[in-house]
Amino acid sequence: MVLLQLDPFLNELTTLYQNSTDKGSIWVTLKRSSMKSKVQRNKMATNGEPIEYRCLIRATDGKKTISTSIVPEGKAWLTVSLCFLSGKVGARDHQRFQASYATILKAHMTALKKRERKDKKKAAEGDKKEGDVKKKPKRV
């Protein structure tokens, strides 16, 4: 599993969705995580250190897994300097990521049914018109 920066993650997520249009599913998991092992957490707890949590986002098609993480906005200034080194995310990117993520989902979840069925009629009309054009080849 690869821990990515936000933008590469979104790009990879887009490819995952693109490659699964014919068959297969895509899973996206959100989980609260400290990105530390249980041993580390226990040590921190016994030492009375505060454990910082972030939102871990994983995406998979069943074969390949990608992941990224979101830092809470209020505490982001602490981690900004580390962000560049470790693939973590700063506060300003947080909102932008949510928006881009929603856009990607909207763009790829096109197989879901819509309420209106006018689209089907329009599509049928469109096909007819195209058919007409093909039937009349121009002879010069």
Partner: protein, 103 residues
Amino acid sequence: MVYMASWDEFVDRSVQLFRADPDSTRYVMKYRHCDGKLVLKVTDNKECLKFKTDQAQEAKKMEKLNNLFFTLMSRGPEADLSEVTGKEQTEAQPGKKGRGRKQ
């Protein structure tokens, strides 16, 4: 676990589940393009809540749930959800009263 019929119940119980055990609760969204199906799952490895849909309309609600969990998971289970849920409620109300009222 049986799929839940009511979206609101699914959201309410999901948030409750997360708040009860924030460390082990996860939220999974599965999308299958070829069948046009979307399945949402929230589980803490003991209890499992699922919601299934094939409607594009439900995908919009799912976006809001995504944002809700982004907030809950990054800021913590005590995070103030009024920003996220407040909007949800005001938007949901005119929808219930009558269609075509949207601006």
